[in-house]
């Protein structure tokens, strides 16, 4: 059986950079009174420039651990900053009294946290439809 060359190239490209193949859903606690967010609004939330929801209540952003592919995709597409610069920024903001996005170390943990905590927002792999949360955006 002959495999078309373009299919082989596509497979090689996906194998060489698996993070690019990962699509994420941005999810929020079901009590959040917002139906969608732009990438700019998401960046403002994760950079702690916006800390309360439009309808009131604190925003509680959730990040994946530094080694996670999902975090790489999210940082590249939404925050558009290198990891070291983001770490330095969040450390400084923490010292200034603004707690950085909380880390959860799996999609399941992010989903459980966002389901449970009022005002929480996070991101999970788009391959599974999350239950009992609001989907606010798709990344990239």
């Amino acid at each position: 059986m002959r495999v078309p060359i373009y299919l082989l190239l596509a497979l090689v490209a996906m194998w060489g950079n698996p993070a690019r193949a990962e699509e994420l859903l941005v999810i929020a606690n079901s009590g959040v009174e917002v139906s969608s967010l732009s990438l700019e609004e998401l960046a403002a939330i994760y950079l702690l420039k916006v800390t309360t929801w439009q309808g009131g209540g604190n925003i509680v952003p959730v990040n994946r651990e530094a080694s996670s592919g999902a975090r790489t995709v999210f940082s590249d597409a939404v925050l558009r900053q290198p990891p070291n610069a983001l770490n330095a920024y969040w450390n400084q903001m923490h010292f200034k009294g603004r707690v950085p996005p909380l880390v959860q170390e799996s999609d399941q943990a992010v989903l459980a946290f966002v389901q449970k905590v009022p005002g929480a927002i996070g991101y999970v792999n788009a391959s599974h439809a999350p239950q009992n949360v609001k989907v606010l955006a798709r990344v990239p």
Partner: protein
Amino acid sequence: MQLSNMWVVGIFLAASVVSPSWAGEYHLGQGYTVGNVNIAGYVNLVVEAPTSGKTELMADDLSLFVSGRFTPYLNPFVEVEISNASIWREGGSPFSDSKPIPVLERLYNDSYFNSDLMLRIGKMLTPVGEWNTIHAAPLVWTVTRPMTTKRGYPEYTSGVMLNYAAENSRLPEIQLYWQPDGEIIPKPKSRTTREYLHVTGVHLNRPTGLNDKVGVSLQHADVNHTDESQTLLGFNARKTLGKFQFETEAFYTHLDGQNPARVRDNEWAVYVLGGYAINDKLSVMARYEHFADRGTTKRSRNALLGLSWRPDPAIVWKAEYIKQEGARLDVSSGIFASFSVLF
């Protein structure tokens, strides 16, 4: 101190009633978060080997800070630290010279009127330049702090501050602050150059990147126990160019009134620092500082070469060599090293 402790405990107890909570979680660099309360801190172990002086290992500092986010108007923050805890000194036995000093660094509440405007009331870090507001050892480039960032003005403001920071605004970030009298629970006199009263100031800051910025400061203050008052004009900037980062702070202060201890009617200082990231973890840096102190005819100069290794965003090892010339103020020639953890 007891009164302020009760005040802090009272705020957090009252706030816990209105606080939605979730199980506590700890992550290195992020501290322990439970509900709307975060408990974190940092530790800094320092080895000082001055050219003319004794080698010493000390814990400088051990800091703990607690913040809460409860309502738009109730966001308390407190930081206490123990500094100068000597662990070992050349010629002595372990802990024999230890004289740790507890310091109330910050104690305030933030009230947000909207996402752009915030009112802070209490004891806070004075927004002159940038270093003073992020002075924790794991966050800054060098073991030794430039004198430019603390010697010529109050590190703390005890009073009120109005903070304006709007997303996508043409206006810069604005911090307008006022200290009506003296400092709340000041540091021991042995740890400060001088005390200040009646502080009024403004800091304007224009972010030019995630961590890059340009800022100016203007401040007026009276010097306690003298008839002296001072007006400060300051400048700070940071710029990242690929693997290079440059930062500088400078100030010029005009002095009015009488103080027999001073030898000139002005004081000025500047430092410049350049850092280069060899890779994600290892960096080298160089710094030069010039300080024309109000109390000495000679000027003080120091140059620094150093490196830092950051195996984790919350952990940093640093080492540096300093050559100091002119008036001896707060920085000495020698080798200095540190291990810092944001926990």
